[in-house]
């Protein structure tokens, strides 16, 4: 076939499906073939559901024929492997869930299926979303399609790399401290973390429940807007999902941004960051000025405390959430244990990887008697201060613009021995989760090695419409999102 689908977005494929120039079944088959050819090396997928995907594609073809198609009907997607998919293995990239078959679909999966999307399979991640490089997967790292000696970012590294390498049209990831935005930046794709409460977490395997949020990764802003429109909304099964109306995001993209006030926080330009990252982000800011937006230099004074707050709050919540992996109702159990306590200790020691155990330990310690006030409570108070910083800035500005990460993708193995250095790579993304606000990562350039650089935009709670509009305006003025990874030739 089949036109030039690798250079097309969901928004561009849809009209071709309408004209029957592209068939969902042929498209799905071609992507499955591409996965078979490339993914042995790249390792984006943990599980490919070939039969399921082709069955869904045939179903989608019928819907097209019956005139029942939605903007997602027949579109092949990849799903981060911590979103429950009924009957399709959901591992969280952990030995402890290696053979887990969810008996139900996450709410976002129900919505995608109702829309007629084709689910290609489940993509790789850091175990239980704990990591910034996808190296913490129990099933092996994912490579960055731009340079196979580099990490794709994490924890949604499989989601980002699969989009970049055209092993799906778009994907879902989850973002607890930057886990959608940072890999999107490192792989040169667009990644959106919605407002906390915008998307139902029902069926999202919990890491840190007050921070986790599901969101889309795609080739452009329009595709992310389209996916958000479908997955967003209140869900009675998640009482932390917000009863806030979901606007039509796609039609609102094109409104112009003249007069939009964009805050530029000085704390996000650090002396130690890669100079090319700063240059690319400053150039992006100049593009916004040319488009008629007003840049306002601001301060978010508690930015430097965000990483410390995050690694206390997230690990505290994780230590409680991951207590369930005890080998009783599902998941791995040490078959040799003959006594209950021994079964707990050894099952968890064998089923959970080093980083997951490290975070459970830190969280358990931070919550334990005598330390609670000094750590967890203190962090929760500073979280309030971080939230107030943003409230102050959003009084006058609608959008905040920053880099996504202080460097481009680092080398595989570069930070695995030093957890603290790894944690600091999340320095620019974590605050949005602590404050609960939406954020997006957009391609805004390449460094001298040809590695993608990301621009981060943040907006007021539940104002994804403005966030997407600002992102779309930049994308219209530039071609960075059209660049294709150069690292696939050697694979």
């Amino acid at each position: 076939m089949t036109a030039d689908w690798q250079n097309l977005t969901i928004g561009e494929l849809h009209p071709l499906m309408r004209k029957k120039e592209i068939s969902p079944v042929e498209l799905t088959r071609e992507i499955l073939e591409r996965i078979a050819a490339l993914d042995g090396k790249l390792h984006c997928y943990v599980t490919v559901d070939q039969q399921g995907a082709l069955a869904q594609a045939r179903e989608a073809e019928k819907r097209w024929a019956d005139g029942q198609a939605t903007p997602l009907t027949g579109i092949p997607l990849a799903i981060k492997d911590l979103i429950a998919t009924r009957g399709l293995r959901t591992t969280c990239a952990s030995r402890s869930l290696e053979n887990y078959l969810p008996p139900y679909d996450a709410t976002v999966m129900e919505k995608l299926r109702q829309a007629g999307a084709v689910i290609l399979g489940k993509v790789n991640m850091d175990e239980f979303a704990m990591g910034s490089s996808t190296e913490n997967s129990a099933f092996g790292a994912t490579l960055n399609p731009w340079r196979p000696d580099r990490i794709p970012g994490g924890s949604s590294g499989g989601s980002a790399a699969a989009v970049a390498a055209d092993l799906c049209l778009a994907s879902l990831g989850s973002d607890t401290g930057g886990s959608i935005r940072q890999p999107a930046s490192h792989c040169g794709v667009v990644g959106l973390k919605p407002t906390y409460g915008r998307v139902s977490r029902f069926g999202l395997v919990a890491y840190a429940s007050s921070l986790d949020q599901i969101g889309p990764l795609g080739k452009d802003v329009t595709d992310c807007a389209l996916l958000l429109e479908i997955i967003a909304g209140y869900d009675p099964k998640d009482s932390t999902s917000a009863p806030v109306p979901v606007p039509d995001y796609v039609p609102a993209l094109k409104e112009d941004i003249r007069g939009l006030k964009i805050a530029v926080p000085r704390e996000y330009f650090l002396p130690g960051m890669q100079p090319e990252v700063e240059q690319a982000v400053r150039a992006a800011l100049a593009t916004y000025t040319a488009l008629g937006a007003d840049l306002v230099e601001v301060s978010l004074p508690h930015t430097e405390y965000a990483v410390a707050v995050y690694y206390l709050i997230a690990t505290a919540e994780a230590s409680s959430n991951l207590a369930r992996y005890d080998g009783v109702k599902y998941g791995y159990r040490n078959p040799e244990a003959t006594e209950l306590m021994d079964m707990y200790y050894t099952t968890r020691a064998q089923g959970l990887g080093a980083e997951v155990r490290r975070r459970i330990m830190l969280g358990t310690y931070a919550l334990s008697a005598g330390y609670y006030e000094a750590y967890y409570q203190k962090a929760s108070q500073v979280r309030t201060l971080i939230r107030r910083d943003f409230e102050e800035v959003f009084r006058t500005c609608q959008v905040v613009a920053t880099p996504v990460a202080p460097t481009t993708a680092f080398r595989l193995g570069e930070k695995t021995d030093d957890p603290l250095t790894m944690y600091l790579s999340d320095i620019f993304t974590i605050s949005a989760n602590l404050a609960g606000i939406p954020g997006i990562s957009l391609p805004c350039g390449l460094d001298s090695l040809g590695l993608p650089i990301g621009l981060q935009l943040l907006a007021r709670p539940f104002d994804e419409a403005t966030l997407l509009r600002a992102a779309y305006a930049f994308e219209q003025a530039t071609d960075f999102h059209r660049l294709k990874p150069t690292g696939l030739k050697g694979i």
């Binding site: 053979n99 887990y100 078959l101 008996p103 906390y196 409460g197 007050s210 009482s239 932390t240 508690h302 430097e304 405390y305 990483v307 410390a308 707050v309 690694y311 206390l312 230590s319 080998g327 009783v328 109702k329 599902y330 998941g331 791995y332 159990r333 078959p335 003959t338 209950l340 079964m343 707990y344 200790y345 050894t346 968890r348 020691a349 155990r357 490290r358 459970i360 330990m361 830190l362 358990t364 310690y365 334990s368 330390y371 000094a374 409570q377 203190k378 962090a379 929760s380 108070q381 500073v382 979280r383 309030t384 201060l385 939230r387 957890p419 603290l420 944690y423 404050a435 609960g436 709670p461």
Partner: protein
């Protein structure tokens, strides 16, 4: 407030994790690095600042008690490592 290997062992016990001796040593070092780093929070005076446990104003959600379909027993048990007669089986407790 340096974390000792003894404390690491106690925390591992609370978290139901068995650590090897080399892991006790590694975690002691790594967790101390992280705790040293988070000490920077003490630079801030937070007296009078309310702690934030959650982003949204969350309230309990109540509804009428209604009968719904629930997960069939065999599906609920399907992922169990060991099951017998419609029950989860664990090693002997006493």
């Amino acid at each position: 407030m340096a974390l000792t290997p003894e404390t690491v062992r106690q925390v591992a016990q609370l978290a139901r994790l068995r650590l090897r001796e080399d892991e006790v040593e590694l975690f002691t070092r790594q967790l101390n690095d992280i705790l040293d780093y988070v000490k920077k929070l003490n630079e801030l005076d937070t007296s009078g600042v309310p702690p934030m446990a959650h982003v949204l104003e969350v309230h309990n959600v109540f509804r009428e008690d209604q009968v719904h379909d629930s997960l069939p027993v065999d599906e609920a048990l399907a992922n169990a490592p060991v099951q017998q007669r419609q029950a989860f089986v664990v090693p002997k407790i006493i």
